[in-house]
């Protein structure tokens, strides 16, 4: 009883703060307020240390969503982590994570952004290695090292900002945005955001981070941590207009979307499928951001946070129920055993696919319409629409594998819906993932987007979704000749299956060489040659010669000493005579 009370207390306060934030959001939205607080920590002669806080409707709304999801996740982990010995440690880590996320959200200052950003990286590392096995350690190292690149880029931005004399970038960003240094800074900010949001060169860590416990994945790797990069770019979106690098970002994020969609179709790990779909949606957000529509990216970020957290929590129930089995080949027909969870899972899947009038529909449809109204070339256009179809494709495949196919688990089983704690916490998110789309659509767009399209282009989203659904049905019932087909295009299949070898190319490959070099340096140079020649070796040589000279000096060999003295004198005299 006492052991689990921390869950309830944290749930209660986070939920309360979330509600308060919601009311403040409404208030700020009506009056169009922005509050900029400067809290002076130290003032010492001419130096003052100021912590600055920015509250506007964007930060308040995002805080509300983060706090809501984290409260629900903490409530959920009371049941999910009930066999955990150190529940307090777990909840503390999650709370630390939430606080650093909030710090990131409310800070208009690059230093405090770095604090929040590093806090996110560190705590997410601790959460990924929460289960202490080799797989988690590898995944945690991958996560930490990939995110470290972004940290370094933020640090470099801090150094560049020294040129302007202040780290509160909101003060001068509008005026200095055409400055050359600002362009460099925008490139660095984009790269930092790409590492956190797992865009293409750095995308290997997000599926690997699924080694974390499932509530952590629901909070961290679906809705908050990975959207920190998107949020950073939204904050800096004044910088992001008409830069050449944005076109590269558009290409990379479009490719991320496509790559993640394809690999999710080949993946069999339940959590990794959902992680790859997160990656795909992140690509969507980043690409719409790179066209300069930050509000749309923010809208999709919020709705996506809701249904993706719900999807992960459903996956958590399934994994818990199946005794840690995550492979969807073991599953099938579970909707007979867990009707409620299947209901939630289907709703969140449909919201993800953009079935009309659920949460995902509003944001995704709006984004795709805006994409169609832009002057884009065919390549980007098809990346968008194929990825939308692929979303439907893998979601339908996942549903088929989980719920409709034959029962496929071990012969002795005991499957049931989990206790009411999990179901209640999922219920909150289910309501949000049904209603948050239309709610936010009304709230956050004071100036509605007006869309003019021919009917076929407008219905293109529906067409590709239906096509994806058909493909998903076909691939989930593809049985007899599967292996022949797979081995016929074995190289291509494994290329698509393993995320375009992205882990091997970028992250494992890169990290491997540097880590290996570090270890080699340690072994061969620090503890090897340099020790042999400089440290220990010099000591040995000194010791040897000291002993040798001691033989002359100390050991009563005065005659030898004199003899050598006389000998040297003779040589000296001879040299003098010769000269």
């Amino acid at each position: 009883m006492f052991k689990n009370s921390i869950c309830f207390v944290s749930f209660f306060f986070l939920f309360l703060f979330s509600l308060i934030n919601f009311f403040f959001f409404l208030f700020f939205m009506i009056y169009n307020y922005v509050i900029f607080l400067e809290w002076e920590l130290i003032s010492f002669s001419s130096m003052s240390l100021v912590m600055s806080i920015l509250l506007d409707w964007m930060s308040l709304l995002f805080m509300m969503f983060v706090l809501l999801i984290s409260s629900v996740v903490i409530y959920y982990s009371k049941s999910y982590m009930s066999s955990e010995m150190n529940l307090n440690r777990f909840i503390m880590l999650v709370l630390l994570f939430v606080f650093s996320m909030v710090l990131l959200i409310i800070s208009p200052n690059i230093i405090s952004i770095l604090l929040g950003w590093d806090g996110l990286g560190l705590v997410s590392y601790c959460l990924v290695i929460y289960y202490q096995n080799i797989k988690s350690y590898n995944a945690g190292m991958l996560t930490a090292l990939s995110n470290r690149i972004g940290d370094v880029f933020i640090l470099m931005v801090i150094f560049w900002m020294m040129n302007y004399g202040s780290w509160n970038y909101v003060f001068y960003m509008d005026f200095m945005k055409n400055d050359y240094v600002m362009e460099l800074m925008s490139i660095m900010i984009i790269i930092a955001a790409m590492t956190k949001s797992a865009q293409i060169p750095f995308s290997a860590w997000l599926p690997a981070a699924m080694a974390a416990p499932t509530p952590v994945s629901a909070l961290v790797h679906s809705s908050t941590l990975v959207t920190a990069g998107v949020y950073l770019l939204i904050r800096f979106n004044v910088l992001l207009l008409d830069k050449f690098f944005l076109k590269i970002l558009l290409l990379l994020s479009g490719l991320t979307m496509f790559m993640a969609g394809i690999s999710a179709n080949y993946e069999f790990d339940l959590k990794k499928i959902i992680a790859l779909s997160t990656l795909s949606q992140l690509g969507l957000m980043m690409s719409i951001l790179s066209m300069g529509m930050a509000e749309l990216a923010f809208f999709h970020l919020l709705t996506h946070a809701m249904f993706k957290a719900l999807l992960f929590m459903c996956a958590g129930v399934i994994i818990h129920m199946m005794n840690d089995i995550q492979d969807i080949r073991f599953m099938g027909g579970i909707s007979n055993f867990i009707p409620y969870t299947s209901l939630y899972m289907n709703i969140s899947n449909m919201a993800l696919c953009g079935i009309p009038f659920l949460a995902g529909f509003y944001s995704k449809d709006l984004i795709l319409d805006m994409v169609m109204m832009k002057n884009l070339n065919f390549f980007v256009f098809f990346l968008y629409f194929i990825s939308t179809g692929l979303t439907m494709f893998y979601s339908f495949r996942l549903s088929m594998y989980l719920m409709i196919n034959d029962f496929n688990l071990l012969s002795v089983y005991n499957l049931y819906d989990e206790d009411l704690v999990m179901l209640k916490s999922m219920f909150v998110l289910m309501m949000m993932s049904i209603f948050s789309g239309s709610m936010l659509m009304w709230f956050i767009f004071s100036y509605p987007y007006v869309i003019y399209l021919p009917i076929n282009l407008k219905l293109m989203v529906i067409y590709v979704s239906l096509f994806g659904m058909l493909m998903g049905y076909m691939i989930s019932s593809m049985e007899i000749y599967l292996m022949n087909k797979f081995s016929y295009i074995y190289n291509l299949s494994s290329f698509l299956c393993l995320m375009w070898f992205m882990p091997n190319l970028s992250t494992y490959g890169l990290n491997y060489y540097f880590l290996n070099m570090g270890q080699m340096m340690l072994k061969k140079i620090d503890m090897g040659w340099s020790e042999f020649y400089s440290g220990q070796g010099m000591f040995m040589i000194m010791k040897k010669y000291t002993i040798f000279y001691n033989f002359f000096q100390m050991n009563n060999n005065f005659n030898i000493y004199l003899f050598s003295f006389v000998l040297w004198m003779i040589i000296y005299l001879m040299i003098l005579m010769v000269m």
Partner: protein, 120 residues
């Protein structure tokens, strides 16, 4: 994509998507066309803090919508009527711009045709 397909036949006319009309506005019209009037006044827009890109010919309807939002803030869906009005106005505006674009295209085609006929 619309740009690519829509300009497929008219590449030689060198039309851009955000083209200003280059011909005299009264060519081919029996009646005189006058300039459109901006209904919303600048002071209202400034006091409502409407961003510059929204200060177009529909701004007075947009102001209605914003006032309605302000009145019923938590229940914004009550402003569906105002929002629809604004959308309709924007749509009419867009259709007008499309017509201007089409007129520009046809006038350019005509000019080209006339030039060819005079050459031959």
């Amino acid at each position: 994509m619309g740009h690519f397909l829509g300009t497929f036949q008219t590449r030689d006319l060198d039309m851009e998507m955000n083209l200003q009309p280059t011909f005299d506005s009264n060519i081919g019209f029996k009646t005189r066309r006058t300039q459109r009037k901006m209904v919303a006044c600048e002071e209202d827009l400034m006091s409502a803090r409407v961003p510059p890109q929204y200060r177009d010919y529909c701004a007075h309807i947009l102001l209605n919508y914003l006032v309605c939002r302000y009145k019923h803030m938590p229940f914004v869906y009550k402003c569906a009527h105002e929002k629809h009005n604004y959308m309709n106005c924007e749509q009419a505006d867009y259709v007008l711009r499309m017509k201007e674009f089409e007129r520009e295209k046809r006038l350019r085609q005509r000019e080209k045709r006339l030039k060819q006929e005079s050459n031959s």
